[in-house]
């Protein structure tokens, strides 16, 4: 990976995400220990590791769904402080896809997608609908636009969730175990959508156990355990020559 123009002053740098000395506790439990990570624009990062290792927590710090006690997170040059305006500014440009989809059940698929463009981006309804249809076509479910989410399969719901996030034209997409809640036969359709998305050059951070996806798409793979980043490497090196015993163990378990 090549480093773009360096600089850590928090102003427009080349980095999409800069996390420095991030520490977080749940009560006595130290979930994140001294996380340092920089992600370049357009980079595709896969984060894996045993559950309870802090992967999701770290991801959720990037759009401040989680608070932290120490450290600093800068997204797209914007320093994430307690300032609500700053938090909203970051969230406007960071899309997120959840394990449980979290579609809004009282709105149709189309309304799910147009909600934020209309109310956050102040887009006219007609434009927002056109935009939403464009992304729904991209995830290949335009025909479901008028349905309510409960009528869709898990895979379809997750693709709607991806389309919904994309409608805000984010610079960065966060995926929090997007295929973990899916029936096995639906995993592929969601992964295919994500692979396509990766081809577009959008910055992606993906927490997942889908190692095939990691191998195919990731620029770097991060292995996290016990709240620490144990290892960061390019996919080939990561799978073939894991540096740490903990990583080797994990890979053995997950790859049989």
């Amino acid at each position: 990976m090549t480093n773009p123009s360096s600089g850590t002053d928090g102003e427009k740098t080349g980095w999409a995400v800069e996390i420095s000395a991030l520490n977080k506790w749940y009560g006595d439990f130290h979930v994140l220990r001294d996380i340092n990570l920089t992600v370049a624009r357009g980079e595709r990062i896969v984060i894996c590791g045993p559950s309870g290792g802090g992967k999701s927590t770290m991801l959720r710090c990037i759009n401040r769904l989680e608070d932290w006690q120490r450290g600093r997170v800068v997204v797209d040059g914007k320093d994430l402080t307690d300032d609500p305006k700053q938090i909203l500014a970051v969230r406007r440009d960071v899309g997120m896809v959840f394990q449980q989809f979290n579609l809004f059940p009282h709105l149709t698929v189309l309304e799910n997608c147009t909600l934020a463009p209309i109310w956050v981006r102040h887009m006219p309804k007609k434009d927002a609908e056109e935009l939403a249809m464009r992304f729904l076509r991209r995830v290949r479910i335009p025909e479901q636009a008028q349905k309510y989410p409960v009528r869709l399969s898990g895979g379809q719901q997750q693709r709607v969730a991806i389309a919904r996030a994309l409608c805000m034209s984010p610079n960065i997409m966060l995926f929090d175990e997007p295929t973990s809640a899916l029936d096995p036969e639906m995993v592929k359709e969601v992964l295919d959508t994500m692979v396509e998305l990766a081809g577009d050059g959008i910055t992606m951070l993906v927490v997942t156990h889908e190692m095939g996806f990691a191998r195919q798409v990731a620029d770097r793979i991060i292995f996290m355990a016990e709240g620490q980043i144990v290892e960061i490497n390019e996919p080939k090196a990561f799978f073939e020559h894991p540096q740490h015993e903990r990583t080797r163990l994990f890979l053995q378990q997950i790859l049989h």
Binding site: F98, N102, F104, W119, Y148, R164
Partner: protein
């Protein structure tokens, strides 16, 4: 293979028999629903006996033996043709305008009628889910209508509507005004209090919790007494708001505390993921609440909200305690009229009140069932 070799048992398909009588139609339904087990048989018999025991006398009282017209008490006293007279509807008819308007001046009663019409129009606009431009309907109902109602009912002498002091208001007019103000004010206030109770700001949370728990811990009568008796002790007479206004404020605050708890129940039922998804889309707090959380929360609590409305509607009768002539109080007053003093006058008056409250509350209940069914269908489209 020759066809003649085959042996047929039957040359034509058998005729279709009708389904056994015992399992279809009326007989089948009765068997399945009324006499399916010994316990069920016993219940059926008991219920039938209750119906036979209660319904005919009621029908006799309300309709067959009822006195429909007459000039005074003579009509409702036992006579040769009607030895056991039923409801004295003649009394209700004679007093009906008092029951509706109280002492509202005769010449100005068109204003009350117009108010009733405007209110009915607003309710219909909002309640009919398929109505055009319900957003304008909401503005009309929550902003235009209150101003218009105040102007109409209380009067603005400059535009030719003489003042009518609220001490002259009474009857259904007062009941409707108190109930409507209570209902219309309690929902938004209740939502604010419910959100306040879950707020991250300690001061807001403390205020909401204190208010809700205090009001819920006190009977409505106490709230009304405090509003009408204690307030004047602190505020000079000239500045003290009108008696009816004070009661209205008391009722609205009381109802909003209950509404807050109902709404809170709904908020608790919304999964965290919904908040997170809305936050991740950069929706600010109030947008998130208005567009994502509250629509879902209010939907699940709709039965409870309507339940609270119904309770509130009936609670409005308590305002008589602070000397306001609501509907029930006008009946109380009228039944003492010597012109109509008969053994059944009071019973008739209360029966009339019961019918009125029942019709209003049952209407609300039916409407909410309707909306629930409709929302459930919409979700499964």
């Amino acid at each position: 293979m020759v066809a003649a070799d085959r042996i047929y048992l039957r040359e034509a398909p058998a005729k279709l028999l009708p389904a056994p009588v015992a399992s279809t139609g009326v007989v089948g339904w009765v068997r399945a629903n009324l006499f399916s087990s010994p316990g069920n048989i016993a219940l059926t018999i008991i219920c039938a006996a209750l119906i036979v025991w209660i319904v005919p006398p009621l029908l006799r009282f309300f309709f067959f033996d009822a006195v429909w017209s007459g000039a005074d008490r003579e009509a409702c006293l036992p006579s040769a043709q009607n030895p056991e007279p039923g409801a004295c509807w003649a009394f209700i008819r004679a007093w009906s305008s008092y029951f509706t308007y109280g002492f509202y001046p005769l010449g100005e009663r068109w204003r009350v009628d117009l108010f009733f019409f405007l209110l009915a129009f607003g309710i219909a606009w909002l309640a009919w889910l398929g109505a055009p431009r319900r957003d304008i309907g909401a503005i009309y109902f929550f902003i235009v209508l209150p101003i218009l109602s105040y102007v109409l009912l209380s009067g603005v002498p400059i535009i030719g509507l003489p003042d009518v002091p609220t001490s002259l208001w009474g009857g259904i007019l007062v009941t409707i005004v108190v109930a409507t103000v209570g209902i219309v004010a309690s929902l938004p206030l209740g939502i604010l209090l419910a959100l306040g109770r879950r707020s991250e700001m300690p001061a807001v949370r403390l205020f909401s919790v204190t208010f809700i728990e205090f009001v819920r811990g006190v009977p409505l009568i106490t709230v009304l007494f405090m509003a009408s008796v204690m307030l004047p002790l602190f505020v000079p007479d000239r500045l003290a708001p009108d008696k009816l206004v004070r009661a209205l404020i008391g009722v609205a605050l009381f109802a909003s505390a209950y509404m807050a708890e109902v709404v809170r129940g709904g908020l608790l039922s919304i999964p965290r993921g919904q908040y997170e998804a809305a936050q991740a889309l950069a929706l600010p707090y109030w947008r998130m609440m208005a567009l994502v959380i509250l629509p879902q929360a209010l939907r699940v609590t709709l039965p409870n909200i309507v339940n609270t409305f119904i309770g509130l509607f009936k609670d409005t009768t308590l305002v008589f305690i602070v000397g306001i002539f609501d509907f029930l109080r006008t009946i109380e007053a009228a039944r003492g009229d010597p012109h109509w003093a008969t053994p059944i006058t009071s019973v008739t008056g209360y029966a009339f009140a019961a019918v009125f409250y029942f019709v209003c509350c049952y209407g609300m209940s039916r409407y909410s069932r309707n909306v629930e069914a409709r929302l459930a269908r919409a979700h499964r489209r």
